[in-house]
């Protein structure tokens, strides 16, 4: 274990987004006395990613919301190197090589390399005009520019997941003509119950977004800067701009070079150490055994990124790590606030909770038998908070009362007596 007071130590962090930046500052908070080098190929000062598909897309701000002000890095003596890629890692000599040719040795190396959007192998996709994914600030900038320049503003979003739907909502707000093409028979099929899918379908339809499920895009034809998106059933959609939101692929290039164990992400232990104890992996890029759900998970969320950053920082500083194994997420579409806690995969029964006095608020509670797995709360922070407490405590909830909206939603009331 590294001594936190050794000024000779160097921690190199590859990736300066939520987890990498948080790790750098957490190290200082834990008393790390060595050098901290934070490196990212993105040239922008590290920023919040969630707004990229939400508020940032509709704002005129050229720069997104920064994770930390630039001066904060200098104040904390964190060396921030932007616009440079880490191209190689040598475990034996404990050093990394950057794209500018420089060599840097480390005591501990942290891979916070994240993931990259998948470009599906659709015929013609490479030649499509104004086709974008959304992962970086530059992507959002490029979409905003193309949108402004576009005369007809016809947008086709491929993929009805959270990123696709948030983007659809944001661009619709700006007056775009938006169509969402989803491959599955319902939106958010992998992550939510049918009720939620139906709710978001209706929400988007009511806001003037056209959504087509069961649509597998087979090719894109582009002529005179106008794309025609063609689906397997022969249907065609004209698009001035195409947004692709069909998931991500983990950035494992460095982990592969370092010959670390990879299995749906860079495999890490409860301390976020990879198969090399001096190399850590945090955030979207790593797969970890989750103690609450008792299975291996790779999570794509801000909360997970921050939580794992804090774990790795504690471990690097020789302190016992504290982690919160129950993940949570949020999504904002139009004026709707969706908050999610837990993971619903594997549920076998669902309780829908509506509220008599709040027609715009409801929550969906996912159970496996009597075990509460997850809660999706729409405009309903109370349900979200209550669900969080029940899941964290693995406490049993009275389902009859939960489903009865004449019974007040309250922790004490819903508790099943032991």
């Amino acid at each position: 274990m590294t001594s936190k007071n050794n000024t000779q130590d160097t921690c190199i962090i590859v990736g300066a987004s939520h987890s990498g930046v948080n790790l750098a500052f957490s190290l200082r908070k834990e008393g790390y006395a060595g050098s901290i080098k934070l490196i990212d190929s993105d040239h922008n000062v590290p920023y919040h990613r969630p707004p990229l598909s939400k508020t940032h897309l509709v704002s005129d701000e050229p720069v997104g919301q920064l994770l930390k002000p630039l001066q904060g890095y200098a104040n904390a003596q964190i060396t921030l190197t932007l616009g440079v890629k880490v191209v190689d890692v040598n475990r034996e000599n404990k050093n990394v090589t950057l794209s500018d040719g420089t060599l840097h040795t480390y005591t501990d190396l942290v891979l916070a390399t994240g993931a990259s959007p998948i470009i599906p192998p659709i015929t013609g996709i490479k030649d499509a005009h104004n086709l974008f994914t959304i992962r970086n600030a530059d992507d959002t900038q490029a979409i905003a520019s193309a949108f402004k320049a576009s005369e007809h503003k016809r947008i086709v979003v491929i993929g009805g997941g959270y990123v696709g739907l948030e983007t659809a909502a944001s661009l619709r707000k700006c007056g775009a003509n938006v169509t969402v093409l989803e491959r599955e028979s319902r939106l958010l099929a992998r992550v939510t119950a049918p009720y939620m899918s139906d709710y978001f379908y209706a929400l988007h339809q009511n806001n003037g977004v056209a959504i087509y499920n069961d649509q597998n895009v087979s090719k894109i034809r582009t002529r005179d800067h106008v794309n025609t998106v063609v689906c397997c059933d022969g249907s065609q959609y004209q698009a001035d701009i195409i947004i692709v939101g069909v998931g991500v692929r983990v950035n494992t290039a460095l982990a592969v070079k370092a010959e670390l164990t990879i299995d749906n992400g860079i495999v890490v232990n409860e301390c976020n150490q990879t198969s090399d104890k001096n190399i850590f992996a945090i955030g979207d890029c790593c797969a970890q055994f989750n103690t609450h759900y008792q299975r291996w998970l790779r999570l794509e969320s801000v909360q997970n990124a921050l939580d794992q950053a804090k774990v790795a920082a504690a471990v690097i500083c020789g302190k016992p790590p504290k982690s919160n194994p129950v993940p949570w997420f949020w999504s904002d579409q139009y004026a709707v606030k969706l908050q999610m806690v837990g993971l619903s995969q594997g549920y076998d029964n669902v309780i829908l909770r509506t509220e008599t006095d709040k027609p715009d608020s409801f929550s969906v509670w996912y159970f496996k038998g009597s075990e509460l797995l997850a809660v999706d709360a729409v405009n309903h922070a109370k349900a979200y908070v209550l669900g969080t407490k029940y899941i964290n405590n693995s406490a049993e909830i009275d389902k009859n009362k939960l489903g009865d909206n004449t019974v007040v939603l309250n922790a004490a009331v819903l508790k099943v007596p032991n």
């Binding site: 969630p50 002000p69 801000v302 921050l306 922070a381 109370k382």
Partner: protein, 102 residues
């Protein structure tokens, strides 16, 4: 311009000045210990919890319903709790003292 004092959990006063934006963003900019603002200020994480004094509570007004619900995530919350991402900086806040919640 408003001068705001944060009292950290170690009882250290941190005095900062802000002109606009949220109180959470000001705290993060100044590395105030205990104010994380993990969700970036959209009232989704409750990591920017502060206690206002009873005397100054009028300056910041009451929490919204969603904010009150989110505050329940924290056992330390009371009637003078706020999530400071939901407090916008105005000149009215000059002299405000906030205690960072545990």
């Amino acid at each position: 311009m408003a001068k705001i004092t944060f009292i950290t959990q170690d009882n250290i006063p941190v005095i900062v000045e802000g002109e606009s934006g949220s109180v959470m963003a000001l705290a993060v900019e100044n590395n105030v210990a205990g104010i994380d603002g993990d969700c970036g200020g959209v009232c989704s994480c409750a990591t920017c919890h502060v206690h206002v004094t009873k005397e100054q509570f009028d300056l910041v007004s009451e929490a919204s319903e969603i904010e009150k619900d989110m505050l329940e995530l924290d056992d330390d919350a009371n009637e003078y709790s706020r999530l400071c991402c939901q407090i916008d900086i105005t000149e009215q806040l000059d002299g405000l003292v906030l205690t960072v919640a545990g």
